[in-house]
């Protein structure tokens, strides 16, 4: 059982380039999330999805796009990379939404460290 898998682990982009961060989960979770973590800060929600075909903006969606064509996959797209998007990105999934119980955890991928130069 792989859990949440993110690729790539590291990436360096030039300003204006585009890329897609991949995220896959094999737990049949409906809820998936993309967060960014800036140095010395907590995580901020970029986008989330409550099921295939349904996505919504989080706290910091500008400069990003997502899609959810299947339950398993939730890719994050950066169209025109900017230095402000230098961050560590985490994908996560859960069976239920934010009101998780003690037995329903939020599962995280291992993160993608992105630098935009």
């Amino acid at each position: 059982n792989a859990g949440v898998t993110q690729t790539p682990k590291f990436r360096i982009l030039k300003i204006g380039q585009s890329m897609t961060l991949q995220c896959t989960q094999d737990m049949n979770h409906n809820y998936m999330y993309w967060y960014r973590q800036d140095p010395g800060m907590g995580l901020k929600l970029i986008y989330y999805s409550v099921g295939a075909g349904i996505t919504d903006k989080g706290e910091v969606p500008n400069g990003y796009n997502v899609s959810r064509s299947t339950t398993e996959d939730f890719p994050l797209r950066l169209e025109l990379a900017a230095p402000s998007q230098t961050s560590v990105y985490f994908c996560a999934s859960s069976r239920y939404p934010g009101q998780m119980s003690a037995n329903e955890k939020l599962f995280f991928g291992s993160g993608t460290q992105l630098s935009v130069l």
Partner: protein, 108 residues
């Protein structure tokens, strides 16, 4: 929106010491969680604790929802406890709002 503040921002302790980390939140919540991020960046759930007290080995947590704070206790610290500890609460849109974390360094 809900604000989450953690203190202290940094904490350096010798192995074997005890510590208390605090999380204050600005509005009533019915979901609060503590996470540990290890030095390699991996995020692990520690506690789901909207109220009351829970213990897991050397770690315990207490949330006083009416006073809008939660405490994480670490006893007999080990070097493997190093990392960043986050608390996060759920807002009315079911989104997790995270504090900035407490960076804990345990020296051998």
């Amino acid at each position: 929106g809900i604000q989450v503040e953690q203190s202290p921002p940094d904490l350096i302790l010798q192995e074997g010491a005890n510590s208390t980390l605090r999380c204050n939140f600005s509005d009533s919540v019915n979901n609060l969680q503590w996470f540990h991020q290890n030095p390699w960046g991996q995020l692990i759930n520690l506690f789901y604790i909207p109220s009351g007290t829970k213990q897991n080995g050397r770690l315990s947590a207490t949330t006083v929802a009416t006073e809008r704070y939660s405490l994480l206790y670490i006893s007999s610290s080990q070097t493997t406890d190093s990392g960043v500890y986050f608390c996060a609460v759920v807002n009315s849109n079911y989104q997790l709002i995270w504090g900035a974390g407490t960076k804990l360094i345990i020296k051998p």
